[in-house]
Amino acid sequence: MSPKEKAAASTRRSFLKRGALLAAPLAAVAAPAAILVDDELRARLARLENEAAIRELHQAWLRRINAGAGDAAMLDPSVSGIAPDHSAEPDAIEVAADGKHAAGRFYCAVETATEIPQDSTLGQMARAQGSGFLRRTERRMLKVEYAKTSGVWEIAKAELAPA
């Protein structure tokens, strides 16, 4: 190694050394912080994953209700359709700290279809032509409670409240 090369190496080492020295205190305090960030990220990720799973569960549930698959029974058998109310407050899903319970609040337009009594000729004729339901659409707030069992979110309770 030439003196010039020695000097350069020395300078590089000393720089690295200085850097290492400078970095040392930072690394010394960053180790627990990184763990915290990691936990936060993990928690955030878990929360986002839970919210996404709940949202997916919610959307699938609404699709089944709107398809008349009978999933509205737990809510109100007369409910025939639920659509998001985009003019209302945004949806809200809150996952409990235990990560096993959650609550959702969804503003929506709820369509109900109630069978017209068949004790009149009009009611009978309406049914005979394939209608025979009284249909109403109202703005409501859908309150849903979720529970996670064996890693899978399920709807524990759902109710419609005034919007």
């Binding site: 109630t114 069978e115 017209i116 009594p117 004790d119 009149s120 000729t121 009009l122 009611g123 009978q124 004729m125 309406a126 005979a128 032509q129 394939g130 209608s131 339901f133 009284l134 249909r135 109403r136």
Partner: protein
């Protein structure tokens, strides 16, 4: 003795023979060979020509060769040709022809627009329903194949554009009818010459648009003779050309093509969204299902009604008789959904309703829901539940059952306390055809009450002011009907679909009484239907009605309240058809 224009039995009372397929085949045989008869000269527009009609959606391909004006050969779907008689008539560019297929119970009615080459083929057949005589139909849309030319893109199509129209028709062979189209799925017809025009009747119908001026109409007289009628109509010239196929009350085959001329009677409103010109508002199949060939939704009230004996009626009434059950709210309120508030106008009052041709009834009214009544001269009072509404100031409609009467009577009453006049529709059971079918007596009279001087001669009167009008009734959301006052002695009711198109329709005997200007008391009997007596008091100023229904069935006797918000849909000019002409008698 000179004949009257009336049949021994009206259409809904005729016990049509249950013809067997063999009987039908035998009766069709000669007509299949000779073709339909016609009072007008048959058209030779297709004589010597061959046409091939191609239809959509798996419908038949029909290869015709016409020789002369009454012989053709037909090969269906490339099969063997067979010979048949036919009859054709033209209306402008439109050709209408019909034929049967020998050796079968089938035939066709075909419409060809020579200008566009579009065609509609209506396949017809018997023995396709449990009542073999009821003609079945399937409508196929297509075109006349022009070798070397591309198939036209347009098609005739089901439409609601005929909805709301009404016509008087006189066919070349003499029959006269009034025909109303208040629905896009049903129609309402009055047989002026065949049945004397007392009642109107309803039938499932097709409405098909050829162009803005020409339309195809069909009806099948389901629940009656099963006869099928189809014609092309020119809405401007008010002319028709069509066919009638079926068996009459004496089981004679009616198979003829006809021309007719008519009069336009008016146009009433229809209630689909603007721009919605779709037809077939009552789909034959449920959503997601495919309709079978010829399927359609048909209201069959005679088939489904309870038919009870007097003993069964007495037992049902003894088991359960209820007047004005406690009103529920929401959908369960049904036809009471738009009922206005009750009135206590009668509470505490004592009065007598003195009818001209029926026993006077004395009343002591306790409160807004309970009254006591007795026939004048009786010692004992009978308590009854009632409800009352003040439709117009001083005019009270109320109803109650008359417990203990042998025919389980019920009274629907309109009493005008400003005029001292009363009209009662007295419903009763144990009628001749079915004991649970309500009958009605219209009682005119006066109110006798302290401080009230009734007229000596004046009475409410039957009126024809409502005749020809159509009035919709909205009882609750998605529960809307419309009355069409089609004859002085009957009305029809149309049930709207979820898209507010006119759907199923039926009719029954009825009558109209004028109470005041703009206030009409009317009834209808759901004969050969549910047996109900319906009564309503229509206020054309407030466009509201209140009414009382009286019904007996296996679940007992009931009187219930109805109420609706109304719209006046229009009026047909038909009063003149019900005037007795100053002719007749022996010269």
């Amino acid at each position: 003795m000179p004949g009257t224009p009336y049949p021994k039995e009206q259409m809904h009372r005729i016990a049509y023979t249950k013809l067997t397929p063999d009987q039908i085949l035998e009766k069709l045989g000669p007509a299949a060979k000779s073709g339909p008869t016609s009072a007008s000269a048959l058209s030779d527009v297709f004589a010597g020509k061959s046409i091939r009609i191609v239809t959509d959606n798996g419908g038949p391909a029909l290869a015709y060769k016409f020789s002369g004006n009454n012989r053709l050969s037909l090969a269906e779907n490339g099969g063997a040709a067979m010979d048949a008689g036919y009859g054709a008539l033209t209306l402008g560019n439109i050709v209408f022809f019909s034929h049967l297929i020998p050796g079968t119970q089938r035939g066709y009615a075909v419409v060809v627009d020579q200008k566009t080459n579009l065609a509609t083929a209506i396949e017809l057949w018997f023995s396709g329903y449990e009542d073999n005589r009821e003609v079945q139909r399937e409508v196929y849309y297509g075109y006349v194949d022009q070798p070397g030319e591309e198939a036209p893109k347009g098609r005739h199509a089901a439409t609601d554009r005929v909805e709301g129209k009404g016509f008087y028709w006189k066919q070349d062979a003499g029959p006269e009818t009034l025909e109303f189209f208040p629905s896009a799925a049903y129609s309402n017809f009055v047989e002026l010459s065949r049945f004397g025009g007392e009642l109107s009747f309803c039938a499932p119908s097709d409405y098909i648009k050829i162009n803005d001026d020409y339309y195809i109409y069909t009806r099948t007289e389901c629940e009656f003779s099963g006869t099928f009628t189809a014609y092309v109509m020119d809405l401007n010239r008010i002319q028709q050309a069509g066919v009638r196929l079926g068996f009459d009350a004496s089981d004679a085959l009616e198979y003829y093509v006809f021309r007719g001329k008519g009069e336009w009677l008016g146009q009433h409103a229809h209630f689909e969204k603007f721009g919605d010109e779709r037809g077939n508002p009552v789909p034959a199949a449920a959503p997601g299902q495919t309709a079978a060939k010829g399927a359609r939704r048909v209201y069959r009230p005679f088939k489904t009604m309870a038919k009870m004996t007097k003993a069964e009626v007495d037992a049902a009434c003894a088991k359960r008789t209820v007047a004005f059950p406690v009103r529920t709210s929401g959908p369960a309120a049904g036809m009471g959904g738009n009922l206005g508030p009750n009135t206590d106008f009668l509470a505490g009052k004592t009065f007598t309703l003195r009818y001209d041709h029926a026993p006077a009834i004395e009343y002591r009214v306790e409160d807004a829901e309970n009254l006591n009544w007795r026939k004048e001269g009786d010692a004992n009072w009978t308590k009854a539940r009632y409800q009352a509404w003040e439709s117009m100031p001083g005019v009270i409609m109320f109803g109650h059952l008359l417990e203990g009467m042998p025919d389980h009577d019920g009274h629907a009453i309109v009493a005008d306390f400003d005029q001292g006049l009363v009209t009662c529709f007295n419903g009763y059971l144990n009628t001749p055809y079915f004991a649970n079918e309500a009958g009605v007596r219209t009682l005119f009279g006066v109110i006798e009450m302290e401080g009230l001087i009734p007229p000596k001669y004046n009475r409410h009167k039957f009126t024809e002011e409502m005749l020809g009008r159509a009035v919709s009734q909205n009882y609750a959301p998605n529960l809307t009907s419309m009355h069409l006052y089609a004859t002085p002695h009957s009305l029809s009711w149309i049930i709207f679909t979820d898209t507010d198109a006119g759907g199923l329709e039926w009719s029954g005997p009825g009558a109209y009484v004028k109470i005041r200007d703009g206030l009409f008391f009317m009834y209808w009997l759901e004969e050969a239907c549910n047996g109900t007596l319906g009564t309503i008091l229509v206020n054309l100023h407030t466009m509201r009605d209140v009414g009382v229904g009286y019904n007996c069935g296996p679940n007992g006797l009931s009187m219930s309240a109805v109420g609706a918000h109304e719209r006046l849909a229009g009026e047909f000019d038909i009063k003149r058809f019900y005037q007795v002409p100053t002719t007749g008698g022996a010269a």
